[in-house]
Amino acid sequence: MSFSAIDAWWWPYLFILLAGWLATDFWRFLGVFLGGRITEESEILVLVRCIATALVAAVIANLVVFPSGALAATPLLLRLSAGLAGFAAYLAAGKKVLVGILAGEAVLGSGIFVTSLL
């Protein structure tokens, strides 16, 4: 039952509702419910946070390695270097997200410019 499995106007919305809203607000509501009842330092939460972090990281890597749209036309090596440069700049600037984004975009932009000249 994929997103385009049923040819009805309501199916994509139901898909988003079940796979999106239920899957996110479940955790938010659970968070309210648990309130102060669980400590953030408990070991099971460390495991859960690790899996969650790794999952988002896998999404990031796939967006860089197997992109869609206009980004797919750029060389893989350029995207990897831009990502690395952004991350390195972020760390060097003392964990400034904005610096990392600007540095990564600068490398990507100049790379696109240079390859368009070749």
Partner: protein, 248 residues
């Protein structure tokens, strides 16, 4: 300045004031970065074949950007409803501990729990970071109003961003679209590292970055869950070994 003696109308006025201050906090550097990431997300959704109303619906009802990127990724990969729901559920586990840490800062003995459940919908990386920073200068009784203003304004702002992208993106040159699409991975690459609570979280991120593309080739359709489970468990294993070593 004593809150308990403020007449009812005065308290309402004060709530409105703090709601407005929360709304203003949405127009900030983190808010701008989020809006930029939403430009990239809207482009991704458009490319995946989603309509504007579907993307707006997703923005309002899911809100958290990583969850939406995973959801659109699952839609792009042609995943079924169960696989998509599973991937999004796993990617959103982090919301629970975030809410758990935010609620004690907002709750007063008088706060009805429906207000807390409603406010928890606004929890995502940006609003959480901004709230945790600004709450120190917000009176405790006004934090619910402040967070309501902040959260709702962030959602509305980014709905406007999504609409603009859908209307304008067709006319963007490819280099600009590429740069915008790249904002999402850059934003999460950096903010994910910063939000990690322990070393293990950063190890999990590095493992996940490496395993994501590998499993994309090995087990397409199940790549995110497989990479997340394996990389996350490996990082947790390192965490346990490190802990045992420190105790020994």
């Amino acid at each position: 300045m004593s809150c308990s003696e403020t007449p009812r109308s005065g308290r309402e006025e004060k709530r409105l004031l703090w709601f407005r201050r929360g709304a203003q906090a949405a127009f900030s550097i983190p808010g701008l970065i989020l809006a930029s990431a939403f430009v990239g997300f809207a482009g991704l959704a458009r490319d995946a074949g989603l309509t504007l109303t579907q993307t707006l619906f997703m923005t309002g009802i899911v809100w958290a950007l990583p969850a939406k990127v995973v959801l659109v990724g699952a839609i792009l990969a042609g995943n079924g409803l169960l696989a998509a729901a599973f991937a999004v559920t796993l990617s959103s586990v982090r919301l629970a501990p975030m809410v758990v840490t935010l609620i004690p800062e907002i709750r007063t003995p008088k706060t009805p729990s429906w207000v807390l459940y409603l406010l928890s919908h606004f929890v995502a990386v940006t609003s959480w970071v901004v709230a945790m920073e600004r709450f120190r200068s917000v009176p405790k009784t006004m934090r619910a109003s402040f967070y309501a203003g902040l959260g709702s304004t962030l959602i509305l702002n980014n709905m406007v961003v999504v609409t603009l992208v859908f209307v304008l993106a067709a006319r963007l040159p490819p280099a600009v679209s590429a740069a915008l699409f790249f904002l999402t991975p850059l934003y999460f690459l950096t903010s994910l590292w910063g939000s990690a609570r322990e070393r293990a979280g950063q190890a999990a991120m590095l493992f996940g970055l490496a395993l994501g593309p590998v499993f994309h080739l090995l087990t397409p359709g199940f790549d995110l869950v497989a990479a997340g489970l394996l990389a996350g468990s490996a990082a947790f294993g390192l965490h346990l070994i490190g802990k045992r070593r420190r105790q020994a």
